[in-house]
């Protein structure tokens, strides 16, 4: 089953390596990992999508992430009210005659063509993983030359937050997170 975690980490050198090394060492499987800056310069945010069997395994991932000194907060946002997005750039083989077909397909998925070359175009698509998978399947018969995807990023809706199974794991998070302004 797919689980999506949001981890807030200190923005320091080597933290990505620590997280990746943890997943390797504990034999957890990463499906995608997206990392970037947040509204606070000292904090980076990771969205980690993993395949794990059940909630007990999800607990293991959370608890092990907390063991990393640089990890500030971990939420499980799988099956929580949240927005998840993946961005894909797909270079499709398209002669002048085929461009209209690609353009129509892209329009259905609210994707757009961001580059046109004599025999190819680049389609930029943003959306849930399912939506992008759907579009990729339709573009495949036309001829995909190359594709790049960012991996999922996620954010919970409104007042909702993800599950914190190991509250108390790394101190009493609710209080302290406020104190440090997260």
């Amino acid at each position: 089953m797919q689980y999506t975690f949001i981890a807030l980490v200190e923005n320091k050198p080597g933290v990505l390596n620590r997280v990746a090394s943890l997943f390797r060492r504990r034999n957890f499987n990463i499906e995608s990992l997206a990392v970037g800056r947040t509204e606070k310069p000292e904090v980076s945010r990771m969205t980690i999508v993993t395949d794990c069997a059940n909630d007990v395994d999800a607990h293991k991932i959370e608890a092990n992430l907390y063991k990393l000194v640089n990890v500030i907060d971990v939420q499980d946002v799988s099956r929580q009210p949240s927005v998840t997005r993946d961005l894909a750039l797909i270079k499709v083989r398209a002669t002048a005659e085929q461009r209209a077909e690609v353009n129509n397909l892209a329009a259905i998925f609210r994707a757009r063509i961001v580059d046109v070359a004599p025999d190819s175009v680049i389609v930029e698509a943003t959306g849930t993983e399912d939506k992008i998978e759907g579009m990729v399947e339709l573009l495949r018969p036309i001829g995909i030359i190359e594709m790049v995807r960012t991996g999922q990023v996620a954010m919970t809706r409104g007042e909702h937050s993800g599950i914190r199974r190991t509250a108390g794991a790394n101190g009493w998070r609710e209080v302290e997170l406020e104190e440090i302004g997260v």
Binding site: N17, R18, V56, A63, N170, V182
Partner: protein, 561 residues
């Protein structure tokens, strides 16, 4: 005040109360060694960096303080690796300080450059690469705090040579700011109440006493709890000593080579109270059949240990001493005489099989001579071991009443640990009696530290159990590989001569009647002493839970007719 990075390092170490460091100098840490001369810290020059790591580990375990080991870059640092992994597996608070090539050379395969933070990432609690002098004070402060707090563990600081030399303003950080690191202390009240209910319903409870009892200093409150709830206590290998072996509620060691009545008690219990232990495969046997009728309460500081191996009914994440102190006033007094009688029955059955019941047959058995050592020392020595059969026999027959006096490599099972960890323990308690029990194999792995012991005048007594075999592997080959002995025959040097070459007084013991006199001689001889015991070659450790078997499916010592 402007100080060099190396001077700042020592300023910080002395503020942490560091009095002794174990290490080896080299090109990339020479500024640190130069600055050391100005500070009141004793440096122990080891013969191999692995020895430094184990000494710092032994010092930490015996003293309850943070140990410090140092090495240069490249091979110096990689030689520490086994010792770092050993400290990690047994949650030992050690700070490792390695030299690194200058920051501008990193990544260029400079002489003696190795990616030490990369190598040690999975075997440290945390590690740091320091490239500037002005980072040192904060990093050292954090490293000591991380090493000793929460679930303790090793922290490595890799300091670039330029950072050691550069001068900067020394400002000692007043506090540690680690937003992602806050060790738990109290468990939630609601969970304590659930624990009280489970304890109240139990008819056949057992306490599993782990290393966490020692690490959190919970030995006294554990006794209060056990007595108040009339619950028997069985220990993991590293939990030995945390609950007095002489206490009527003490059962002894559980697990693969645990005592049969302990394993039977666990398998027949209706409540397991797991205190600061992690359900290692060496104490559970096969997981599918582990304690099938028992509710399981797990008090543990590291949340990643909860449900890791055994799915428990009630995890209480917190500091063991704090949680038990909260729990003791909440529980009622109980009596479990029927249950204790049942366990006593199993124990009596085991004693009839015990090798201790054998009459003297002229052969030298390790178990017998460990018992003699225990008698001679009144059970009061600090005992360190290597890894293998002798380690299990020492665990079984050197019955300890106090914590921090049993120093052995449990999780990692590191051969060569015994002698250096004993030297480290001596620096923690120079006035105490210290024995290390080693096998002929493990002793040779770090035998060079004999020279260190002599240089330092370390008063450690070294008992080598020589059966000219790698005994534990031999035992497995006997039991599980139809006695096809492969790679276990070992020609050993004359350990007496080896010791004497180091200037260490030594004796050879070949018969049971010589044992007591030799031990007395060793105790009366100041400084390091070696006794080589030529022990029975093909003796096996019993009971034994074979790999993949249920905990109560033990191979038992055949009854001697």
């Amino acid at each position: 005040m402007e100080l060099s990075g190396a001077e700042i390092l020592w300023e910080c170490l002395t503020r942490e109360g560091v009095e002794v460091v174990f290490g080896y100098p080299g090109g990339a840490n020479m500024p640190i060694y130069d600055a050391m001369l100005m500070y009141p810290v004793h440096h122990v020059l080891v013969r191999h960096e692995q020895g430094a790591a184990h000494m710092a580990d032994g010092y930490a375990r015996a003293s309850g303080r943070v140990g410090v080991a140092m090495a240069t870059s490249g091979p110096g640092a990689t030689n520490l690796v086994t010792g770092i992994a050993t400290a990690m597996m047994d949650s030992s608070p050690v700070v490792f300080i390695t030299g690194q090539v200058a920051a501008h050379l990193i990544g260029g395969d400079a002489f003696q450059e190795t990616d030490v933070t990369g190598i040690t990432l999975p075997i440290t609690k945390h590690n740091y690469l320091v490239t500037r002098a002005d980072e040192i004070a904060e990093v050292v402060r954090e490293a000591f705090y991380i090493a000793r707090s929460g679930r303790p563990g090793p922290v490595l600081i890799d300091i670039c040579k330029n950072a050691q030399i550069e001068k900067t303003e020394f400002v000692y950080p007043e506090e540690v700011r680690l937003p992602g690191y806050q060790p738990p202390s109290h468990a939630p009240k609601a969970d304590l109440q659930k624990a009280v209910e489970l304890i109240g319903r139990a008819k056949r409870p057992v306490i599993l006493c782990g290393h966490g009892v020692v690490m959190s200093g919970a030995e006294e409150v554990l006794q209060h709890f056990a007595v108040k709830t009339h619950t028997p206590v069985t220990s993991t290998l590293l939990g030995l000593g945390a609950f007095p072996a002489s206490h009527p509620l003490s059962l002894g060691m559980m697990g693969m080579h645990g005592e049969a009545h302990c394993n039977l008690a666990i398998q027949n219990a209706d409540l397991l109270l797991a205190f600061g232990m992690r359900f290692d495969d060496r104490v559970t046997g096969t997981l599918t059949t582990y304690a099938p009728g028992a509710k399981k309460v797990h008090i543990e500081i590291d949340p990643s240990e909860v449900h890791k191996n055994v799915k428990v009914d009630l995890p209480l994440v917190g500091d063991l001493k704090t949680v038990l102190t909260d729990l003791v006033p909440l529980v009622d007094e109980y009596e479990h005489d029927d249950w204790l009688d049942q366990i006593a029955g199993w124990k009596a059955e085991g004693e009839a099989r015990s090798i201790m019941a054998w009459p003297d047959d002229g052969k030298l058995y390790v178990s017998h001579l460990i018992h003699d050592l225990w008698s001679a020392t009144g059970g009061g020595a600090i005992v360190t071991t290597d890894v293998g059969q002798h380690q299990m026999w020492t665990a079984q027959y050197y019955a300890l009443d106090k914590p921090n006096r049993w120093i052995t490599s449990g999780g990692a099972g590191t051969m060569g640990f015994g002698l250096p960890s004993a030297i480290g323990a001596w620096f923690a308690h120079p006035d105490d009696e210290i024995w290390t029990v080693a096998g002929d194999g493990g002793f040779q792995m770090t035998a060079a530290e004999l020279s260190t012991a002599v240089q330092e005048g370390a008063n450690v007594k070294i008992a080598i159990m020589n059966n000219n075999f790698l005994g534990m592997v031999r035992q497995w080959q006997e039991f599980f590989f139809e006695k096809r002995y492969s790679g276990v025959n070992m020609t050993t040097p004359d350990f007496v001569k080896l010791a004497e070459a180091h200037g260490v007084p030594a004796r050879l013991v070949t018969a049971p009647e010589e044992v007591q006199e030799a031990i007395a001689w060793a105790r009366n001889t100041p400084g390091p002493v070696v006794i080589e015991f030529k022990v029975e070659k093909e003796e096996a450790v019993y009971p034994m839970v074979p790999a993949g078997a249920a905990l109560d499916q033990m191979l038992r010592r055949p009854v001697r007719s």
